[in-house]
Symmetry: C3
Subunit: 361 residues, 3 copies
């Protein structure tokens, strides 16, 4: 930050939210309440942090409509966190890369690179591939044959985009991620030896998708693996062949999605979740971290566990699990009471049989 600045009134206009107070105050960055400096814009996304705002050095603050009386210049937004993100984007530049093709890059004569695209050192681009305007391919990126990359994409160092894959506009792919590796498909003979099923499909990634670092997205066996518009994927995620991930879904780090799974839109998968093959997960389903999905899931469910169950049900089972050792003690005590009842009742019914004053012998 620091190399761009805006007056508060300009930010108000650019972000489409009203300001109150001194519109001439100059802002050169965005920061959280605790660390924002005297030229920064901060935000109050939760009223419980009101006290922190009192101590903040920030020049101005984004607030909810109900919290305007904060004694300094404000932007008023119905969604301060969203407005903070949009404001921060105004101050941010991704790593620079000169437009044009670096002399060390290897671009096929049969590839098409838009004049405003930037192709970094040691990038290879295969025949039949096109790269859109404003897109940056940082150093060491490998782009295969017949690949389509849209406009304004950021492809970080060491990414591989293999033959035939298609990326929309404004796609961001972080370092080390592989798009279009072979799906894991083999046939077995009667002695359990595997032979490869060639993977001849592609990966299609739609507009505004972001994929983290060191992920793997396998190409389809036939057809396509498909990541739809607005999906955000964290690091070290595995997307197998023929998976579809619906629009605006969010996949946290180290998730693994097996072959031919279809996720609906606005699905949220917590970290380290696993989804077994060929399942369907409905729209807006939320799966807690570390859960395992072994059956298809209807829309609008919150699931948890290995294997996963509805979150409320899981809480009941977990509470029972926590009481389990005590329950076993209670069971032992109860058995003892029943044994005692049985003895007592036997004595009551046949007083001479068990009594100490018997005269049987």
């Amino acid at each position: 930050m620091g190399n761009k600045s805006y007056r508060l009134s300009d930010l108000s206009r650019l972000l489409g939210v009203p300001f109150k107070g001194d519109g001439e105050v100059v802002i050169d960055g965005v920061g959280p309440l605790e660390t924002a400096g005297p030229t920064h814009l901060t935000f109050l996304a939760n009223p419980k942090y009101r006290a922190k705002l009192e101590r903040s050095r920030a020049a101005a603050v984004i607030v909810d409509p109900g919290f305007e009386d904060v004694g300094r210049p404000i932007l008023v937004s119905p969604n301060p966190y969203w407005t903070m993100a949009k404001a921060a984007q105004l101050f941010y530049d991704p790593p620079p890369l000169d437009p044009g093709i670096h002399p060390s890059a290897e671009v096929s004569a049969e590839a098409s690179v838009a004049p405003g695209a930037a192709v970094g050192p040691w990038v290879s681009i295969g025949p039949g591939t096109s790269v859109g305007d404003g897109t940056r391919l940082y150093g060491h990126v490998y782009v295969g044959r017949q690949v389509t990359i849209g406009r304004d994409c950021l492809i970080y160092p060491h990414v591989a985009i293999l033959d035939g894959c298609r990326l929309g506009d404004r796609v961001i792919i972080h370092s080390g991620t592989v798009i279009g590796s072979d799906g894991f498909g083999f046939a077995q003979d009667n002695q359990g030896r595997s032979t490869k099923i060639p993977q001849t499909g592609i990966v299609q990634i739609d507009d505004d998708v972001e994929i983290g670092a060191n992920c793997t997205v396998d190409r389809a066996t036939f057809g396509k693996t498909w990541i739809q518009e607005g999906v955000k994927i964290d690091n070290l995620v595995q997307i197998a062949h023929n998976v579809t991930i619906g629009r605006h879904s969010i996949i946290v780090a180290q998730v693994g999605i097996a072959g031919s799974v279809t996720l609906g839109s606005h699905v949220v998968l917590g970290g380290q979740v696993g989804i077994a093959g060929h399942l369907t997960v409905g729209d807006r389903v939320r799966i807690a971290a570390k859960s395992a999905i072994s059956h298809s899931v209807d829309p609008d469910q919150d699931l948890m566990g290995v294997p996963a169950m509805p979150h409320k049900q899981w809480l009941r089972h977990y509470a029972a699990w926590l009481r389990l050792p005590r329950m076993q003690q209670e069971m032992a005590a109860l058995k003892e009471r029943v044994r005692h009842l049985e003895e007592t009742l036997a004595r009551t019914q046949n007083p001479t049989k068990d009594g100490s004053h018997g005269n049987e012998c």
Copy 2:
């Protein structure tokens, strides 16, 4: 697909399975029942899909011996899925790479690269290393010193094969995978500070192994980490130092195998499985996805759970877990019944003690 074609009679001969019907029909690809085109070969691996076959546009179909009456040209195979895989291989070419050494590659004068090998741009090959005929090293591959790579291997972009490692023939390694990173070995002093144990062993990968994208296979501390013939490994898998994976085993994505584990042959590990260090897992063991193996496993077991137990046992325990909250309610009800019995019995034995008509006082 599309750039190779065969007559059905040629496929019959190449695949070693008989055909029936018009052997002159020309096939230029393989596809599943639903999407195969009119010049494609399809397959019926499961009789329940017979109805789909009726609607398929495929020119010919691979069937089991019992299912030959399908009204179009056929190949008859005792294992249609296997024959489909072999047929698809006939139509498939991996990404092309010109034989010879790309001018931007850095090949040591003390390395030996077979004339029919293909070394792509920005590949480095260290001294004492040999690369066999027909092997392709795509762009950005790093090959260290004293490495042996056999014939007809495919090493995808951004793979690193570090010093001393040995690969057999027909090995496939997908993008971003690291072969021969250091094992995770440290000694601790009495203050809990770690010092590195140098990792001086190697990784040996035998013939016909395939390893997915962004995997890590650590070199041995001493000796070798060993992946035996025909093993297939999916993406993002961690193989620690001194692990041995037996022949024809299958390791699904995101599995982690700790140091000095020995897997037998034909083992199958589901996704996200973890195996603790120094264990032995017998031949043909199958571990369900997400399980944790904390004890050695005899051959021919199916295991599941964290920690894993035999699959059938796990099902019993899981059924009990599902009943657990109801069981706790039943326990509470049973306690109440026992309390009532105790009271009733006490009244029966000592009617004056608890009775309302007592005259004690």
Copy 3:
């Protein structure tokens, strides 16, 4: 091994531990009891392996003070495993790399590379970046702008160290690891669409840290992600934005640590552990493999499970889980006994009501 050798008396001096027996014996490597050759030093870290020592071909052995009578030359150490590690370091060289800048590297005119640093082929170094003496950047390493790398670091092929990140001295980073990828931060609008929160912080890695292959360490949203002195991280580990990992902690493979977590010092996380966001984990906490941490943890705890609980408590719960199916059978039997008691008692109290000799009708 094999290209360096020392007399035992030299090793004694270099390692700071006394020798006994023939100090002139020449040692050219270190190996375990079973495989050490006749010119190797071995070690007896556990007295139960004494019999193996008898059969070892090793020229000399590192022993505890109590185990000096082994019939061959010895080094006596209070921590033989530590001394073995230090001895092995004397024989070990990392992959060689000529000092200086390889002609194919792209080093910014505004970068500072120490004369004794080695910069391999196709390494890029951005403006404002400094690289310390003795540091090796192997082939294909990407180093961004304003990065600081200290002395004697080893940065293996295909590592990316992105803008602004700082590494101390003697840091080792294995192949494919990404330092400074964007944190996973988004704001949602009222329709569940995500917009990116620019990640403007850095990653700071202190002295003597080692990070395995294909890890991801995200930059902070604001401020820094911080890996403190002496931390050792295995392969495929995810460290999210704004995480702090305290001094000398050990993180095993495939662990995932969510955003803003703070780990104390000397923490040990087993393989595939997950830690939810914004938690604090105290000093010397040890978490068993595959566990999930969903609450903050006080110092000096041993935890296990999903979600994790103290290890001893987990053992009790797990034992109860193992007895659970039998417990359900016992519950059914107990219910039957109670039912029988109730019937018997009812007959006892009202003999005509349920008795077979009743005369009601």
